[in-house]
Subunit: 226 residues, 2 copies
DNA sequence: GGGTCTTCTCAGGCGGCGCTCATCTGGTCC
DNA sequence: GGACCAGATGAGCGCCGCCTGAGAAGACCC
């Protein structure tokens, strides 16, 4: 814990910074923010992050230039570039300039987290993760689950949702937290997607009449527990 | 907690109180002020704040003494001490007396806010916290309690009410304090919701014939004790 | 273009939960 | 012992939070 992985988030949009910071902090990373390219370079020098998440489009020094300077200064840092949907040409340029990966906005948090983990793993140690809870097995790499010998296929959203619960068993996750993690960061307004997907998941997890694992906590959210 | 975080500001300088109060209120905290050590202790008893911001130098009961008494009163309250620049020796004494952090005056508000956030984060709910009292366990994350091996499910209001008692064991909580914390009422209208929910809680906590933990203090309020 | 899979919206339904109310109980004071 | 009042109790009601089934829209594949 004392030597947690440090991640620097550079984006001029405070909303994105906040969502990313909160999410990553929740996952146990130490997060530093910067609102501009200049500040980003400064914070990078100051905190020596393991990974930099970097928006391409920023006033002043933009993401590409920051990448160039980071590479010139210190080669080992991993760089994840964020690019708006219609800036796809930037992808190529971004990767050529020295970014290790890129992600198109808007993205949902689990996607970001997956990239972050992948990048950090590449820089560190690999491992085929299998999460277990009660009689449920969850193979992160294979993207499938097993219960009472049965193989359970999951769609992407179901996978993200179940992954979140498997990472935080016995903990009540509020609707807000779940929405922020599994659905797009800029999701606004009322929707009952969450209920619907909880229903899908329950349907698959309890297909053979097994006991309920995903419980409703009225007025709060949901928990994974026996 | 169900309602906003409460912060008590104790300083004999009205200017500082005003600045701090406005700023914190703007950030969404509920702020209570006190102009002296005596008043501070009184307000603390009355409002059960999560954090106390406390000036060291005050006529009458000073900050150090207030800290001592707050700690003696079994409060798990976080304390942030304010000290003038040339009272640096007070820092040491302040921390030894039981303050959780200190801040040198003059300070800018962002500095204060950063400390406040850090303290609340550290102090509030370290993930996986389990509160215990007698043979009762209260799992904050899972939103459930256990007694004599039995799992006790709680509704949101029951949870908020029990949480309040678990945070202040053996302390008599008046009806007003409880109403203010759990229902956010200004106790205007008459209602016996509190009695009803005390009954619900007792029902669940003593379902297997266990001894009473939630006691009535006639004319005052309720206590959690053996 | 047709078929399939996935994501998400929408309308309707149901029951849990928060709360009120009327009545009962017991402690306290004279 | 009687009167009074704070709190306890049981019953019940209405809302809204969540569940459910159906289907539209879009992506992908052949």
């Amino acid at each position: 814990m004392s030597d947690a992985t440090r991640i620097l988030v550079v984006d001029d949009d405070p909303k994105i910074r906040t969502v990313v910071r909160r999410g990553l902090a929740y996952e146990g990373y130490r997060v530093v923010e910067a609102a501009s390219g200049e500040e980003g370079l400064e914070k990078a020098r100051e905190h020596l992050p393991d990974l930099v998440i970097l928006d391409v489009m920023m006033p002043g020094i933009d993401g590409l230039e920051v990448t160039r300077r980071l590479r010139a200064a210190r080669g080992e840092v991993a760089i994840l570039m964020l690019t708006a949907r219609d800036e796809i040409k930037d992808r190529v340029e971004g990767l050529e300039t020295g970014a290790d990966d890129y992600l198109v906005k808007p993205f949902n948090f689990e996607e970001l987290l997956a990239r972050v983990r992948a990048l950090l793993r590449r820089h560190a140690t690999p491992a085929g993760e299998i999460l277990r809870f009660a009689d449920l097995e969850f193979d992160v790499d294979a993207r499938e689950a097993h219960r009472s010998g049965r193989q359970i296929e999951l769609t992407t959203t179901e996978y993200n949702l179940l992954l979140l619960f498997m990472r935080h068993p016995r903990k009540v996750l509020t609707r807000d937290v779940i929405m922020e993690h599994v659905w797009a960061y800029d999701f606004e307004g009322e929707s009952n997607v969450l209920e619907v997907y909880v229903r899908y998941l329950r349907g698959k997890l309890e297909a053979a009449g097994e006991a309920r694992l995903l419980h409703t906590v009225r007025g709060a959210g949901y928990v994974l527990k026996e």
